[in-house]
């Protein structure tokens, strides 16, 4: 790891320089207060301080819908060419995003490696950006508010400059190719970083009590709270679509034209009715309450048992995007009988 | 076959939109009865509108008919905006104009090439026709597709637009998309003129000739336009749009779910491309003027079969004019959305526009909360129906007057050709209604 500083005025030169390493993708403002990750040409559009994009970076690794296998006029196509995004530089990753990336890596790169994921993952450059939480962030509670690995570079905004953390050989390549942009970090920079850190830790207003949560959930397995939530949930799947760690998918065969067949993979969510439906009509999670419960148990109970950490990074996207206002933090307060 | 009396029955007319049949009773050489029997079921949309909020009108009324959905949309929005006193911005006016042009390109391309021409070339469908005229058919389909693409771009969908709102548009087309459409339009002009040359060689039978009164809107500017400011007849009369009910008299007939219309004088009349060409053809310029010269070398004749040819002239005009409209839009700066603010108030408004099949009237009365008190829609096909029957009668009598033995299948084809020449839209025709005043 290497720590440098960069003048704030050089940000656009830095972004221009990043283009040499792949398609530059950054948050842009879609409509007032609504952000999305998009490939940008005009670097002034980048809004790295935006806390949440509607969809997280996961779309840069696996598209919401792509053709995995294909046959046209008897000829087989290259596997998953449709999902080949080429080298991408993802600018504006926050600490929670990078934690989520680790969770996806855990899923997709262990056991049978998902080749579609891996191809894009290997060519993904992650340039992080320090954020300030708002009322929907609870990464502090999930222990994901800081990050020390799994990124290439990280920019923390300080007064008039950035503290630049270089964390990979690729990050080092970027720095070496753009020596003129960086200087060694000073003691003052470090001091200011530490102050900012403190200020940031204080800025959190939302917190989720995770004390013994997996076991609390185990105890509350048959609690009426899940029925109540089932009544409220629209099962629109928005929370899963926007969640950086929700990674389920569906596979469906299609015949889009004569003499052509495709195996299409689309994002899926355990909240959809068909998710656990099998041939003959048996549905392992027929009731809405079971489906809602499953989402929370998967993230906060089962994943913890398997990997020793929850698969929620506290980014607040599901809170922001639930039309009916279901809020994870409130759900767990409710489960604990506190609200 | 007894020479003294025979019935010609076409139970289900093909290659027209909707469900209708034809019944003709002939005694000797005279026609005793002609019924265009429309058995399309009613969906009562206009009555269902009663009590609905004005923001719902467009989404409901557009579904009267798919082919005319963009036209109904623009007519409805115009009427509602008139009722509320909403002023269209220039961009909204221009975009709606382009939407109408797209709708006309699609509708005319479909009708001229896929529904009408097979008759003139001796096929029972465009699929059959494609075997002998693959290039022409392929081009016609491309053109129709282009009409759809324009509607998709402006209306958000080729059928039943969703982007069109009272006071504006949800999302405006970007310059890139407009530019792409423009270049395709440009490329379509030459092949379209090629089709004009082909059609100009086809003989048009004379058995459907008959003096006719034509009605069309006076364009809002000195040019060939589909939106107008007053109602004109080929006899030189002119009426304000708001008095359309006095000009167009509706009446119900026993044999049909659709109402018929006539002028106050009791005369039946024709609306549509031929009427527009007759009244405003002199405004045409450029390639459209050239096309008109080729297809109507002796001027606009009173022969309904020529309505197909008139549509072809209009196709050329629409393609040409769409290019100009694209240029106008490209000259305006890009913007994401355009909406004017307005207040809801009680009012009554009429919207009249020229659509592919003729003049379309929409009228709504709203209460202070914006709820529909009354609704009235008069479609071109309903206005034409009485004239269709009149033309069918003449056609049969003219053919029989030829003296030779004419078999039923020949008469049937002639009857169908007359009906099809009007490009009737039966779905629309059964929704003629007036809600108020028992």
């Amino acid at each position: 790891m290497q720590t440098l500083r960069m003048n704030a005025g050089l940000l656009s030169s830095f972004l221009e320089a990043l283009k040499a390493f792949g398609t530059l993708v950054a948050p842009v403002e879609r409509s007032p207060g609504v952000f999305a990750l998009e490939a940008i040409d005009d670097v002034s559009q980048a809004r790295p301080e935006a806390l949440r994009t509607i969809l997280p970076f996961k779309k840069l690794l696996l598209k919401p819908r792509f053709v995995m296998l294909e046959r046209r006029q008897g000829q087989y196509g290259a596997d998953g060419a449709d999902n080949d995004l080429g080298p991408v530089v993802y600018f504006g990753a926050h600490s929670c995003d990078i934690h989520a990336l680790r969770i996806l890596d855990l899923l997709y790169l262990s056991d049978y490696v998902d080749p579609y994921y891996k191809r894009n993952r290997d060519r993904l450059t992650v340039v992080g950006y320090g954020c300030m939480p708002d009322g929907k962030c609870f990464c502090q509670s999930m222990d994901t508010s800081t990050i020390d690995k799994d990124f290439d570079m990280f920019l923390t905004p300080l007064d008039g400059r950035y503290l630049v953390t270089v964390n990979s050989a690729r990050g080092d390549d970027i720095v070496r190719a753009n020596q003129h942009l960086f200087q060694p970090a000073t003691r003052r920079d470090v001091q200011e970083y530490l102050e900012r850190l403190k200020e940031r830790e204080k800025a959190f207003t939302l917190s989720l009590d995770v004390t013994d949560l997996p076991y609390v959930l185990e105890l509350k397995k048959d609690d009426p709270v899940w029925e109540e939530l089932g009544k409220k949930c629209l099962c629109c799947g928005s929370c899963s679509m926007v969640c950086p760690t929700c990674a389920c998918f569906n596979v469906r065969d299609e015949c889009p034209e004569e003499d052509s067949a495709q195996r299409v993979r689309t994002w899926d969510a355990c909240l959809y009715r068909e998710y656990a439906l099998v041939a003959g009509g048996h549905n392992f999670r027929a009731s809405r309450a079971d489906r809602v419960k499953n989402r929370y148990y998967h993230k906060q109970e089962a994943f913890v048992r398997e990997f020793g950490m929850p698969s929620c990074v506290g980014c607040g996207r599901c809170i922001e995007n639930c039309p009916t206002g279901i809020n994870v933090v409130e759900v767990f307060q409710y489960v604990r009988g506190e609200a | 076959m007894s020479p003294s009396g025979r019935n010609i029955v076409i139970p289900h007319l093909g290659r027209v939109e909707g469900h209708g049949g034809i019944f003709v009773k002939i005694v000797g050489n005279t026609v005793h009865e002609v019924n265009m029997d429309i058995f399309e079921g009613s969906r009562y949309y206009e009555a269902l509108l009663k009590g609905k909020h004005f923001l719902e009108i467009q989404g409901i009324i557009t579904r009267v008919c798919a082919i005319c959905s963009a036209s109904h949309t623009v007519a409805a929005l115009t009427a509602i905006e008139n009722a509320l006193g909403v002023k269209q911005t220039e961009r909204v006016h221009t975009l709606r104009g382009l939407l109408l042009l797209g709708a006309t390109i699609e509708s005319h391309a479909l009708h001229v090439f896929a529904l009408a021409l097979p008759d003139f070339l001796g096929f029972d469908s465009v699929i059959g026709m494609a075997s002998k005229y693959p290039g022409e058919v392929a081009f016609a389909l491309k053109l129709k597709q282009l009409g759809n693409r324009i509607q998709e771009l402006i209306g958000g969908r080729a059928i039943h637009p969703i982007n069109t709102l009272v006071g504006g548009f949800g999302k405006l087309p970007g310059h890139r998309e407009l530019q792409a459409i423009r270049s395709e339009l440009q490329a379509a002009l030459d092949p379209l003129m090629g089709a004009v040359d082909l059609v100009a060689t086809l003989p048009v039978p004379g058995w459907a000739e008959q003096d006719t009164v034509y009605v069309a809107l006076r364009p809002y500017e000195e040019a060939y336009r589909f939106r107008g400011v007053s109602i004109c007849t080929s006899r030189g009369e002119e009426f304000p749009i708001e008095s359309y009910r006095d000009v167009v008299r509706e009446f119900t007939v026993e044999h049909s779910h659709a109402k018929h219309s006539a002028l106050a004088s009791g005369e039946t009349y024709m609306v549509g491309s031929l009427a527009r060409l007759k009244l405003w053809g002199h405004h045409l310029g450029g390639r459209a003027r050239e096309a008109m010269g080729k297809l109507f070398p002796a001027g606009v004749q009173d022969n309904i079969l020529l309505n197909n040819w008139a549509q072809l002239v209009e196709l050329v005009h629409c393609v040409e004019h769409s290019i100009e409209v694209c240029d106008e839009l490209l000259a305006m700066p890009e913007a994401p959305r355009e909406m004017v603010d307005y207040e809801v108030r009680a009012g009554r408004g009429v919207g009249a526009i020229e659509v592919p099949r003729g003049t379309l009237f929409h009228e709504y009365e709203l209460d202070a909360e914006g709820r529909v008190v009354s609704a009235n829609v008069i479609t071109p096909t309903a206005q034409n129906l009485a004239n269709v029957e009149r033309d069918m009668r003449t056609a049969v009598e003219n053919v029989l007057a030829g003296g030779e033995q004419v078999d039923d299948s020949r008469l049937k084809l002639n009857l169908e050709m007359v009906a099809r020449a009007y490009d009737p839209c039966i779905s629309c025709s059964v929704h003629v209604t007036r809600l108020d005043g028992e």
Binding site: G237, R252, E254 | G14, A47, S125, V126, I127, K142, L435
Partner: protein, 265 residues
């Protein structure tokens, strides 16, 4: 499906409706020419004359609602002729707009519209064909989406069942990263109750979904209504947006009562 050299026989029919789904088939310009080589469209009144109205059909597509006795007869005839029957469009699957919720009775409607003493004895309350006869496949949409239609045809022609997505419009809306109409504009958006496949067309144009594709399986109406009401939207407004398509399915008892109460005030 095809036996030997016989191409499958196909019929396309419209009952009472706007013909939008048939037009949408015609809008598959390029593909239609190719499809014409693989199947024999023997009965399609809208597009050809000289149709065979009696032969057996391998596949029949039916659009529109049953609104007359004659429609019902036609429907039963088609059912008897067809091996695979496909309901095309929201009208055919759910009833669509013609079955829209409105408190007026059929007789009143008739009087309102025709304003005369003409009697159309054969008109009946508009109901979807799926209410009367069994269908093998349903393809909703108002109108149907071209790509879905082509997938259905290609699947049926190659002897398999098409597997169309059954997720709600919100899926596509989120994937397109639209600004949510409910959250950011406080509008009644039917996306969460409506079956996707349209690419979230309306929200992508900045317009709330009106539910034109009909409901998903097991929509949570009550939660949706509560959500809209909780956002300060009036009951009338909720009813206004929710009662257009697939009614009366969408007009839950509770909502109807609230609307009555509110309009009295």
């Amino acid at each position: 499906m095809p036996n030997g050299n016989d191409k499958p026989k196909v019929g396309i029919f419209g009952l009472t409706g706007c013909a939008g789904d048939q037009l949408q088939i015609l809008n598959c310009e390029d593909e239609l020419v190719r499809l014409a080589g693989r199947m024999d469209i023997v009965d399609w009144v809208m597009a050809r004359s000289g149709n065979d109205h009696t032969c057996r059909l391998d596949v029949a597509f039916v659009e529109g609602v049953v609104a007359t006795e004659r429609d019902l007869e036609t429907l039963k005839e088609i059912r008897a002729r067809a091996k695979t029957l496909v309901a095309l469009g929201t009208c055919a699957v759910w009833g669509g707009l013609p079955a829209m919720h409105n408190e007026m009775s059929r007789e009143v409607l008739q009087r309102e519209v025709y304003n005369t003493h003409v009697q159309f004895l054969d008109t009946v309350e508009a109901l979807p064909p799926t209410h009367f006869v069994p269908f093998e496949l349903s393809l909703p949409g108002c109108p149907i989406e071209r790509h879905e239609f082509l997938r259905v045809v290609n699947s049926v022609l190659s002897g398999t069942e098409p597997d169309l997505p059954r997720v709600p419009v919100c899926w596509e809306c989120k994937v397109k990263e639209n600004t949510c109409r409910v959250i950011h504009a406080q509008e009644v958006c039917c996306g969460a109750m409506t079956r996707g496949g349209c690419g979230a067309r309306c929200p992508s144009h900045g317009v709330a979904c009106s539910g034109c594709r009909g409901p998903v399986e097991e929509p949570n109406y009550d939660a949706n209504i509560t959500m809209f009401a909780g956002r300060g939207i009036s009951w009338l407004e909720i009813a206004r947006r929710m009662s257009n398509f697939s009614a009366p399915v969408w007009m839950t008892q509770g909502l109807e009562q609230e609307v009555r109460r509110e309009s009295k005030r």
